[in-house]
Amino acid sequence: MTVMIDVKGLDKEFGGVHAIEGLEFSVEQGQIYSVIGPNGAGKTTLFNLITGFYTPTRGEITLNGESVVGMDPNRLAERGMCRTFQQMQICMNMTALENVMLGRHLKIRSNLFTSMFRLPSLLREEKACRERSKELMAFVGCGEYINTEASAMSYGALKRLEIARALAADPKILLLDEPAAGLNGTETAELEELIRKVAEQGVTVMLVEHDMKLVMGISDRLLVINYGRKLAEGTPEEIRNNPDVIAAYLGG
């Protein structure tokens, strides 16, 4: 198995707050790798570091062997990384379908000239983009919202829409920050099924999630962090039986 993401000695400080401290782990290609920990443990900060929204205070992050520290999110997207957000990031000035089509931004070859004059090559490309985006909306289970304005959609539908947008980029690695937050039981079960299907297609998935049933059922490996530090790492079985974890987190 090849290592996709490798993190070494990662530190992130905000003023006096040590949000991430000395973190080391690696994610292999094709894994579903989850990060768990109590509120404020530093999970979102970790995702922001990996996806280029924050620059580490110290440490190294590599993606497929290449150092990606200090690289902009859009450059990381070019390398096959995409994500969703705990605080959803949807373009409310667009329709649902346009949001997903935006996800295919890097696949599009048309330029200023073809756009200005709406040349046939652009129309062909847009048609293909629209078809693929519709498929993805159906795939994540929001096919009925194709012509709906994003601002008119329910919370649960928007969460799925954000995943569809990320998938539209044909990512090699997908990071999901609390995708099940705010979803009911049925919706969470559908989400689990969805993540499995994505992983089956060969996409590496990193997941931050508080829903223990979901995480334990779906993950290949887990990283438990507390106060920005690694508490434990291993398979769901190992994590479930780890005394530190039980004391600090699962038991509490």
Partner: protein
């Protein structure tokens, strides 16, 4: 059939074309044609500015600078150096585009008030240069601009032309040319908006974080739309210079930048028809404020403020939404 029309993305362009070409049948006075032509030119300028402000969610409080730069480049090149007007217009647009790219790259990293201040400064600097280079530009006194001509054929408001067997006086001919230019400006802007490029621009407005996540190089796209809107301003500035035949540095000044941005905000951000309406209203307003000329900028500032507070989407989108809601309710159909 009517449904198809309602869904057609260019339906408003057809409506606009009809309005633009019916108006001359209702007017005779050359003064009205002069005013109407000015409105068309300024409307095409704000259609370009709207790409930056309404769609990409950025701001430029110095856009008149680019308008003035285009106007003065054309004026100087055609009068002092005898360039053909079309060549001068194209080179001016290229130069202005380049300037916008060079200054846009660093300043578009700024957000909110900082971006407003930086674009304001750009406008000021251009206006100061035009004022000071009086050897070329005539300074504050302004300068005379030769009429537009193409392959020896001259377009002057005082000329007389024949089109399809009709006798057309120069002021009407200019009106028609400006009308066609506005329609072309609108069609190109709409094409851009409906393209993947337009989607990327709108995503910067909707969620810059989302845009970056899916790979949009936001810095590059912001610069690109800044350049496009500056080129719109430059071209229309050149056209305006040839149309009026006499320009002063006021067209590059701060007051004029405020007029442009107020047209966008009042009429309706992200709505081409809206900003055109904004141009019409704000260009006609001074005609009714004859006794209040000193307060013009203050009144525009007040309109800008009031619109942002009470109608943040602008007049046109707000009105259209109200109409749509009303129709939706009365027919009981889905909106």
């Amino acid at each position: 059939m009517f449904d198809r029309f309602l869904e057609w993305r260019m339906n408003y362009v057809l409506v606009l074309a009809i309005i633009v070409f019916v108006i001359p049948l209702l007017m005779e006075n050359p003064f009205y044609f002069d005013l109407a032509t000015q409105i068309l030119i300024i409307a095409a300028t704000v259609v370009g500015l709207n790409l930056l402000v309404g769609y990409a969610g950025q701001i430029s409080l110095g856009h008149a600078g680019f308008y003035g730069m285009g106007a003065y480049f054309s004026a100087v090149a055609t009068s002092a150096y005898n360039w053909p007007p079309l060549l001068a217009l194209i080179v001016a647009a290229a130069v202005v585009g380049l300037v916008a790219w060079v200054v846009g790259r660093p300043i578009l990293k700024l957000k909110g008030h900082y971006l407003s201040m930086a674009t304001l400064a750009v406008g000021f600097i251009i206006a100061i240069i035009i004022n000071n280079e009086s050897q070329l530009t005539g300074g504050p006194d302004g300068m005379v601009v030769p009429p537009f001509s193409l392959f020896g054929w001259e377009l002057s408001t005082f000329g007389l032309y024949s089109l399809l067997g009709l006798e057309i006086p120069g002021h009407v001919a200019w009106y028609l040319v400006a009308g066609v230019l506005l329609l072309v400006a609108v069609i190109i802007a709409q094409n851009l908006i409906d393209s993947p490029l337009g989607r990327a621009l709108r995503s910067i407005h909707g969620s810059e974080i989302a845009a970056r996540t899916v790979g949009v190089d936001t810095a590059r796209y912001k610069s690109m739309v800044f350049v496009i809107s500056a080129v719109y301003a430059s071209i229309m500035g050149s056209v305006f210079a040839h149309f009026t035949g006499f320009i002063t540095p006021a067209i590059a000044g701060f007051d004029y930048s405020i007029v442009l941005i107020t047209m966008v905000v009042l009429g309706g951000m992200a709505s081409p028809m809206g900003v055109i309406l904004g141009a019409v209203v704000l260009k006609l307003l001074p005609q009714f404020l004859a006794g209040f000329q000193e307060y013009e900028t203050a009144i525009f500032g007040f309109i800008l403020m009031a619109t942002m507070i009470f109608m943040p989407k602008g007049f046109y989108p707000t009105a259209m939404n109200a109409i749509r809601n009303k129709l939706g309710k009365s027919s009981g159909g889905k909106a």
